[in-house]
Symmetry: D2
Subunit: 375 residues, 4 copies
């Protein structure tokens, strides 16, 4: 069996999530390649070495360019701040290596387009970390939609809200920087846009309203200096899908009570389904029953009949966790690199997500409907 | 104690709901007047008489104009098809009688404006049957908002969806007639708009998207004749409130699984509350806790600490029903007629609801943001 | 149409609940008799008169014996403290009048037996106010059980918990008096036992554990005097039904968070259903699906397909309230009095409920399994 | 840092769960030892070798006795059929090695006692795989109980139901063999008993009712031969805890709709908490509020404020999965082996769980209350 050398850049939350997933994937799944944790990079050489040791990587680099050039490395995983995705991915593609990049693809639509085009020219496999799409129960949702079991799809209502910025005294961070893909729409909303496209296809036109409720934040915790905030705290939008479905979209990082409320309801002429990432192992499904009154929303629990679930656990109701979704993502990645096409957005798809987000920003700024093709 | 003669026009679902509420109100509440069921009108004289007998009305009329002129009648309750609200209310006001009219106020904004102006000129008490506002737990929601316990209110997400028109073979009815205030927005959405205004005040600007998914329906059950549908099956909108709150709105009568899903989430800088009419005795409330992690949405159950609840039942968790909300509405009505001002939209407020709905329709038709004051 | 004169004894919470139901029943349902609110009795003559006036009763009595003798009165409704049920019902039966008695039937099994026998000898219609049985969605539960749709029924888990006595400083009341059918088992638990029998039939044997957590309570609010408590705060039991079903039972009036948690799960070889009175318009139902993984508990919402619901409201999801269940109970009562047999426990059935509760008390006291037929 | 050689016996579902946890633990947590996957044993030598390769074990053995003797192995993990726990653990202890054994500890109370005594004599660290106890949110539950925040604990209601044996045609398996710790009580119920003891301490007396609904099952899938079933399909019990708390307990593997319904409600004089393993990242908590009516069950979501959670994910609401609980269990194991005492049942505690289960079986068989100390 082929061995695939992984080079991971980044040692933060997402870096470790990648590392765990790469460590697990061969034990959980039967994969077409053996994963070799070849190298880990972090600008902090000591941290790079310590994490490499703890996570089982063979080598560490302080310079990510060296990692990319490392001949043991076949696949570059990028889990760094957003503004570094573009140079790292471009360098990796130039080096002829497959790229697995965290979302968002880039911090500008121009960057994203360059990355898409470079991947296409290079003919290399790329994947972008919209990990929520790899949830087995999302595969069921998509099957119910694609098979026509829900009839013609006519409405989508999606929301991704959290509350980690709800307190006006939560300080400025790179997430507040428009140059780093900051703001609720870019940080959270893009997950929902990716999911909407995954399930329902392209969006043709949008109208939107963005709002910054906390217009200043402390420069750092406890600081008296206050920085102006130029990114959105919340964005509401209307979506028109190419398939005729109409929808609403909202995202906020101020909405008290929500911690990971990536939720949607999709309704068709023959039924409705609903999902909330805060209960990621459940799908609510309604289909009318031939006996009136005997229908109601059902709570489906993820179980081994769903693709990928049984590899973690043979019994329903035992639940996958956040990190398991990452392992599922890595499975799709490895299979794709080995020539087995499968699910998961590549750079071309991630570019479309960025384009859609950009259209929403434009619609909010100009207070008008925007055709996504304007961009 | 003063006796107040009630004249009720209409014997359908809403007519009976009115009758039950008028029958109950004196036994449930200590009111400033004794309700006398003076007269009931229905164009079908036999039905009028039969219902009057069953419901306890002293007289019946086949001609509603006679009911209005009946000297035993002090207050006119209108529970007829929407296009009749205007002539009946105008006649009642001309006769110097208080009016309790079902929603929507009228079938056009011009009619609604006339009714508002006539009520103002006459100096008579009016009320419009947005009964959901009289839910005691909605009073709690409003108190939490008005008191500042939720902080500055920054987002509203509202939906009123049902599925009674989901089947494309459900035949045409007056609800499909744009001349009769048909369509999901007018029929269902107006309840949500009234509630949004009740809780958060005026809306300044809207953008909207309306959609007719089933463009034809049978002329009647089983008929081969198909009529074109010109009203909306669903409408999504963005709302900007005068207080700075941003919101989204959606309404549908096609959304499978929902039977009375008049629901909202209102979020402020210090908390979030959520409500769904399908569980009308519950309010979900989130407020951050000083100990991180010890906060979560709470399910508050209606009980005797809420205004009006204890008159029905002295214990929490025993639940009010749909008809009880109507009894609460009648209480507010009787008190208002007796000079005790209280909650409940009058013609002036109901006109504002119509104006807002009209702005949404305009925004959807012209595909642009509309300032409500344009109308 | 026959007129039926109602004589109601009691003006407390339950008295008013009866009054409301009698006022409503003819307007909600087409009944075989016209209800006449003939007389209301309360030992406090002024209160009797005031309530009679407010609730629409023609006469008032300070002496309940006079009410029973009142020739305008055909049916005696008893909504008084528990220890008065026996003398009042016995007198009513002796006077040849039908009796509608609040639960529990009596404060001792001997009393209950006498009442049962007197009713049988007199050949009169009796009903006991286990109003929760009249919930239309409970009729659906029973249909699902009786029809075999759930297969052979094998387990019952029932709980009726509230928290109104949770505070150790809540003072002594008649509910704490064993001579007045005090204690959680008698006050709350009997509702659950009645419901268990209604749904699943007779219980053959029981084992139980009763517990008094707050062994003293203030004599009255704020009093320093403390009275010993000799009734149960909570009782847990095991039940063996005659049909082979096994079950557990618990009741508490100390259980924080519950306001009206009369809940059960009934499971058979082909499905499970679950109910909670705190959401009285919902039934949760699980049936396995031919496609594994596509099954999950469904939330059925009460609607017009259920017997009795449409009389209140023609649309699903609009919800019945607590008082509506009482109106449904009165419908069954009036029909029974008019010779149309229908649902609702009579004295014979209510005696069986008392016998079962007594068996549970005995099992708890003697710490052994008890056959109900021992009593 | 010390290296700890792991020897794992068993390659089924639980074997792999162990393997994944051992692979993950060093990357997730900072542990006092480095885990070395030294050896894997399975009676099927080919399978042993294949799994060792896939899961990253250095060696494989077909004979588990060789694995125990392997000098690279410091710690023996036992994930084999229940009847093998005793000989393997005894051999491991005899070899002076720490033991991590899957639940239940043994297939008889005598075996369990021997294992407990051998562990005590050897002075070796032992742990038993009641993994649900390692859920961070269970630590919160225990803290709320131990700190007195819920007041004096007075009631426990626990249930562990699944439905994987609900179909009468599901064939006989070792789970149906009383010699192999078969039956719902041993297979599922023991998890709940372990959890009850973990949270509330010792149980003093029990009464119980066991029931076999499907008295025969096919010898194998599709077989016409039917074997008699001598283990329980469901058991209900009453529990009396040493701390005075009273409780009910039920377990079933026939209860349609439940997949992993290990659930409890624990109520004290100042609050109630509720948990369900089917939503393992949530705890429902009720505490009375100083303003009446402003209290209701809260849904707390697991997050980084809970011990152990942040190592998987820094944000609340992202959710741990089933396998993460195993990783938490391994952390506690490794720490204990390294001399850092921590949570998790050892053989002495697991013996007490077996003793309690045995008392329940005795109480059911003899239909009487049983003091646990009788055994």
């Amino acid at each position: 069996m082929r061995t695939l050398g992984i080079g991971l850049i980044g040692t933060g939350f997402m870096g470790r999530a990648h590392a765990l997933a790469f460590r697990n994937a061969n034990a959980v799944f039967e994969l077409p390649a053996r994963i070799h944790l070849a190298a880990l990079a972090d600008a902090d050489a000591i941290r790079a070495e310590r994490c490499a040791s703890a996570w089982g990587f063979a080598h560490s680099h302080a310079d990510w360019r060296q990692l990319i050039e490392n001949p043991q490395v076949d696949l570059i995983a990028i889990a760094t701040p957003n503004h570094l995705h573009h140079p790292m991915a471009m360098a990796a593609l130039a080096a002829g290596k497959a790229v697995y990049c965290e979302k968002p693809l880039a911090v500008s639509l121009d960057q994203a387009r360059e990355m898409r085009d470079a991947a296409a020219s290079a003919g290399l496999v790329t994947r972008v970390g919209y990990n929520y799409q790899h949830n087995p129960i999302i595969a069921l949702a998509r099957e119910l939609i694609d098979s026509g079991e829900l009839g013609e799809i006519i409405s989508f209502q999606g929301e991704f809200s959290e509350d980690f910025m709800a307190d006006a005294d939560t300080p400025w961070s790179w997430r507040c920087d428009p140059q780093h893909a900051g703001g609720a729409l870019a940080d959270l909303g893009s997950h929902l846009l990716a999911l909407a496209r995954h399930l329902l296809g392209a969006v043709e036109a949008v109208c939107a309203d963005s709002h910054t409720a906390h217009r200043q934040r402390p420069a750092s915790t406890g600081s008296n200096e206050r920085l102006a905030i130029r990114v959105d705290d919340q964005t509401h939008a209307l979506l028109r899908f190419a398939n005729g479905c109409r929808g609403s979209f909202s995202t906020s990082w101020l909405k008290h009570g929500y911690k990971n409320h990536l939720a949607f309801e999709i309704s068709g002429t023959r039924g409705t389904l609903a999902f909330d990432q805060e209960r990621l192992n459940e799908l609510r499904l309604y289909r009318p029953h031939e006996r009136p009154g005997m229908d109601g929303f059902q709570r489906l629990l993820a179980g081994p009949t769903l693709p990928g679930y049984a590899a973690f656990c043979p019994a329903a109701g035992h639940q996958l966790g956040y990190n398991d979704l990452k392992t599922l993502e890595v499975r799709a990645l490895i299979e794709a690199v080995c020539g087995m096409p499968g699910p998961g957005p590549d750079f071309a798809e991630a570019y479309e997500v960025e384009r859609l987000a950009t259209a929403i920003r434009l619609a909010a700024r100009e207070q008008r409907w925007v055709e996504v093709d304007e961009l």
